[in-house]
Symmetry: C2
């Protein structure tokens, strides 16, 4: 036996990515074996290497892909908004929505950074920095226009990001709290916190 009927490189790679997200999220990068991953999608371990360079490479691919998509989506969500207050509201709603929908990616993107080689890690951290800077810019502008009162923009931005990202660890889409209510609660907490 060899090549399976109906096999296609694109579909297999997509399956590898999906299973990789699932397994790394559930057990961690180090704890996930390529044998596990291969079995999940009905492949022999060696066959994975037709689609990925190394295990490390797969991890970087997943995280990098997540960051790039995150940045692009943010720009789309904020596009055209000038008012800092509206921009902050939009940022909060976007961040929450996106992070609810991609809990796995977000979790991996932060908790498995240490498993990356230094060079790869630096690339990801740079992208994350760009994302943080976008929130900083909003806060700065709002302060300049006399809307917000913020002692330290970067520290506040980190605090807000931590708060918003925290939902990934507990939010259950099927639970007691609806998405709209979740956004409302966080919006009020943040806005009232930074308002003059």
């Amino acid at each position: 036996m060899a090549r399976t009927a109906g096999s296609s490189g694109e579909k297999t790679l997509a399956a590898i990515r999906e299973a990789g997200l699932d397994l790394i999220h559930a057990h961690g990068y180090e704890a996930m074996s390529l044998r596990q991953l291969a079995a999940r999608i009905g492949l022999q371990p060696g066959s994975l290497y037709n689609h990925i360079e190394t295990k490390q490479d797969l991890l970087f691919d997943l995280i990098h892909n997540h960051m790039v998509t995150l940045l692009a989506s943010l720009e789309e969500a904020l596009g055209g908004i000038d008012d800092p207050l509206e921009a902050l509201k939009a940022f909060i709603a976007f961040h929450l929505t996106y992070h609810i929908e991609r809990k796995r990616e977000v979790f991996i993107g932060s908790s498995e950074l240490r498993s990356l080689a230094p060079k790869s890690r630096r690339k990801i951290v740079a992208l994350r920095r760009t994302y943080e800077d976008r929130l900083c810019a909003i806060l700065k502008q709002g302060t300049a226009r006399g809307l917000f009162k913020i002692e330290d923009v970067r520290v506040s931005a980190y605090a807000i990001l931590a708060m918003l990202t925290g939902i990934c660890t507990w939010y259950d889409a099927k639970g007691r709290i609806g998405r709209k209510k979740l956004i409302d609660i966080h919006t009020r907490l943040v806005l009232q916190g930074v308002m003059k």
Copy 2:
């Protein structure tokens, strides 16, 4: 050769704990090998088993110890305070201070929960719940007395906890921001956020 001169069970166990904290924090539980750990404290791998049951057991011991200490320290910090506003301030200051000082423990206590056996994990989660409940109680009392305006106490508690715990990922005690300023910024953000 066999038992080393001056060796003592207590000291060795303490060294294992300390090195374990360091290595798990740096590389993750799965990625830390017992050979690494043993080498760090000048021991043969097999000798570790004079002091620990299993690798899993060491992890649970570290996390459990952290949670118990955290809870006890919190009660000490809040002891005697009745006013909800003062209690919230004290909670924020305590949480930040404690988490700055024990970044390793906190990180391990959250990111390595998944490496625990279900039974052990449940024990830790229960302790964490107790901690969260303490903050919930403060928020509830403050709302009852007409000080705070909070739509959902539990969600708000999670949001606040996430914000405060976030510092573990970026705060550098030797950096630009002093501890007092850090506490001030977060206190204002949270208080103004929940105030009526």
